[in-house]
C-alpha cells in the first residue's frame, strides 16, 4: 500500500517538474497518434460518407466487414503490419520496422475502420433526408455535400475522437512494430509496461495518470458536443 502511495506522490512530482523523460514520452505518444488520426480521418470520413449515402441493402457485406475491422485486436494488427514491414516482408526495403512511422501505420489501420464505420452510421441516419431537403431547395452538388458534412459533424467528430481514444491507449500493436526503443519509439503505454516490469512504479503511475487525464479531456469533449445523448 505504501508503495502505491509513494508512487503516486512521486508521479505527481515528475509531472509537475516536467521530467524530461516523461515529457518526451508523452509528446511522442501525441505526435504518433495525432498523425495517425489525421491520416485515418482523411481516408475514413469520405469513405464513410460515401457508404452512408448508399442504400444499406446494397452495401451490407461491406458494412459488416468494416464493423468487424472496428474490433480488430491491436496485437493482430501489429502482427500483420510487422510481417509486411519486416526486412523479410514485402515492404522490408523501406526499413520502417522499429520507427515511429511503423507505429503510425499500425494506428492508422486500427483507427480507419472506426472512423469509417461511425461516419457511415451518422451519415446514414440523417443523410438521405438532408440531401433531399437541400436538393428541393435548389442546392447544387457542392452545397449538398457541404451541408451533409455540416449536418453530420457531430457524428464525424465523435468518430474521430473515438478513434483517437482507442489508438492512444493501445499497447499491443505499437509494442510489436515500434520495439519500445528508449527515446525513439517508447510511448506512454509501452513505457508503462516496461517500467512496471522494471519496478519503476513512479514513472509508470505518472504516465498512467496522464493517460487517464487525456482520456477524461477527450471524453468530456465528446460528451459536450453530443450533449450526453439528450435531444436538441
Amino acid at each position: 500500500m505504501t508503495r502505491l502511495l509513494d508512487g503516486i506522490v512521486e508521479a505527481f512530482r515528475l509531472i509537475i517538474s516536467f521530467d524530461p523523460e516523461l515529457i518526451h514520452i508523452v509528446f511522442l505518444s501525441l505526435r504518433v497518434s495525432i498523425a495517425a488520426i489525421i491520416v485515418a480521418s482523411i481516408i475514413g470520413i469520405p469513405l464513410g460518407a460515401f457508404l452512408g449515402l448508399k442504400s444499406e441493402k446494397k452495401t451490407r457485406l461491406l458494412n459488416k466487414l468494416i464493423f468487424t475491422l472496428m474490433g480488430t485486436p491491436p496485437v493482430v494488427a501489429g502482427l500483420v503490419i510487422y510481417l509486411f514491414i519486416s526486412r523479410m516482408g514485402p515492404f522490408g526495403v523501406l526499413g520502417l520496422l522499429y520507427t515511429p512511422t511503423a507505429m503510425i501505420i499500425a494506428q492508422v489501420s486500427l483507427a480507419t475502420p472506426i472512423i469509417t464505420g461511425l461516419t457511415m452510421v451518422g451519415v446514414r441516419s440523417r443523410g438521405v433526408e438532408v440531401v433531399e431537403v437541400a436538393r428541393s431547395l435548389g442546392a447544387g452538388q457542392g452545397l449538398i455535400t457541404r451541408t451533409l458534412i455540416m449536418e453530420s459533424r457531430i457524428a464525424i467528430l465523435g468518430a474521430i475522437i473515438t478513434g483517437f481514444g482507442r489508438i492512444i491507449a493501445e499497447v499491443g500493436a505499437v509494442m510489436i512494430v515500434g520495439g519500445n526503443i528508449a527515446g525513439q519509439t517508447r510511448v506512454m503505454t509501452t513505457a508503462i509496461v516496461l517500467e512496471t516490469r522494471r519496478g519503476n512504479f513512479e514513472l509508470a503511475i505518472g504516465l498512467g495518470l496522464i493517460l487517464l487525464m487525456f482520456s477524461f479531456i477527450i471524453n468530456s469533449f465528446l460528451y459536450n458536443i453530443q450533449g450526453g445523448g439528450k435531444k436538441n
Partner: protein
C-alpha cells in the same frame, strides 16, 4: 452519370490524399525520429541492437552504451526481447547485431551464415529462487538436477518463462536432464519476461530459474531468496554477434563491428566487470574464456 463520376472523383481524390499523407508522415516520421528525440547530431549514425530482457532490465546497457556513444559518435538503439526473438530479429535483418545467451543456438545460426564475428562477451550464472522458508527443501541438495526433482516430487509451484528466451531454453534443458515431465498442474508456463516471471513467482510462492542480473535488479521488491546456485550446469554465457551483411546488405555492419570491438576490448571488458547493482557484480568479462 453524375453519380458515378462523383464516386470516381471521391475515390481518386481520397487515394491521392492518402498517399500524400503517407509520404508526408513517412518523411516527417523519419526526420522526426532522429531529430525529435534530440539525436540530430547522430543522423544516420546509429545501430539497432536486439537483446534479451536480462541485459536491458539489469541496467547494464544503460551503463555501457553512453560510454560507447561518447567515444564513437554512434547511438545504440536497444530492443529488449528474448534470446529466441532476438535471434529471429537478427536473422530477418531487422537488427544490426544481437547480444543473447544460448550458445548452442547461437553457434547454429552462425554456422547457417546469419551472423558473423561472434564472441563470448561475458557470463554470470543462473540461480533458483523461491520462498525464503524453502518449502520443497532444495537448498542443501548436491546438484541442480536433484533440486528440480525435489520440486517435482513435492509438486511445488514452479514458474517457467515459457517465452523461448535463453533462460527458458536452459530451464527446459534442465528439466529434460531431470527426466521430469513438466506438463503438470504445478508447472506454470507464463510466456513473459524475467522480471514479470519473478513477480509472478513471488505472488504464487513458487520457485523459478532466473539469471542473477535480473534477480539482483529487482530483489528489493520480492520476498524471494536464492535457494540453489553454483552447479556448472547453471553457467550463463552471453554472446555478441553481427548480422551477416552478405545476407542483409542494408545492415550497418561497420558500426556493429565497432561496437563489438569496443565491448571485447580491455576497456569494454573492464566496464562490464565494473557494473554493479547494490554492490553486487552482475556480469563477468567473458572474452577469450572457454
Amino acid at each position: 452519370m453524375p453519380r458515378h463520376k462523383r464516386f470516381a472523383f471521391l475515390i481518386v481524390s481520397s487515394m491521392v490524399i492518402f498517399f500524400l499523407c503517407l509520404i508526408a508522415t513517412g518523411c516527417s516520421g523519419d526526420n522526426e525520429l532522429r531529430s525529435g528525440a534530440g539525436e540530430t547530431e547522430f543522423g544516420n549514425e546509429f545501430i539497432m541492437l536486439a537483446t534479451t530482457t536480462s541485459t536491458y532490465d539489469s541496467g547494464l546497457l544503460d551503463y555501457l552504451n553512453p560510454v560507447f556513444t561518447e567515444q564513437f559518435g554512434i547511438k545504440v538503439l536497444v530492443i529488449a526481447q528474448g534470446t529466441g526473438a532476438a535471434l529471429e530479429s537478427g536473422s530477418r535483418g531487422d537488427a544490426d547485431l544481437i547480444l543473447v545467451h544460448d550458445r548452442e543456438s547461437e553457434l547454429k545460426f552462425v554456422n547457417e551464415g546469419f551472423f558473423i564475428d561472434r564472441y563470448d562477451l561475458m557470463y554470470n550464472d543462473f540461480i533458483i529462487v523461491g520462498p525464503a522458508d524453502d518449502p520443497a527443501g532444495i537448498s542443501d541438495l548436491e546438484n541442480v538436477i536433484e533440486a528440480l526433482n525435489r520440486v517435482a516430487e513435492k509438486e511445488h509451484p514452479f514458474v517457467s518463462r515459457g517465452d523461448d528466451s535463453g533462460t527458458n531454453r536452459r530451464e527446459k534443458k534442465l528439466w529434460e536432464l531431470s527426466n521430469v515431465n513438466t506438463e503438470q498442474t504445478w508447472y506454470f508456463s507464463i510466456g513473459q519476461g524475467m522480471s514479470d516471471t519473478l513477480i509472478f513467482t513471488n505472488e504464487t510462492l513458487g520457485y523459478t530459474l532466473t539469471d542473477r542480473g535480473t534477480y539482483a535488479a529487482i530483489k528489493d521488491r520480492l520476498d524471494l531468496e536464492v535457494l540453489f546456485e553454483g552447479d556448472p550446469l547453471l553457467s550463463n554465457q552471453y554472446g555478441i554477434m553481427a548480422v551477416n551483411p552478405e545476407f542483409h546488405p542494408h545492415v550497418k555492419y561497420e558500426y556493429a563491428l565497432t561496437y563489438i570491438n569496443f565491448l571485447v576490448s580491455e576497456e569494454g571488458q573492464n566496464l562490464i566487470a565494473s557494473y554493479s547493482l547494490d554492490g553486487e557484480t552482475l556480469f563477468y568479462p567473458g572474452f577469450g574464456l572457454e
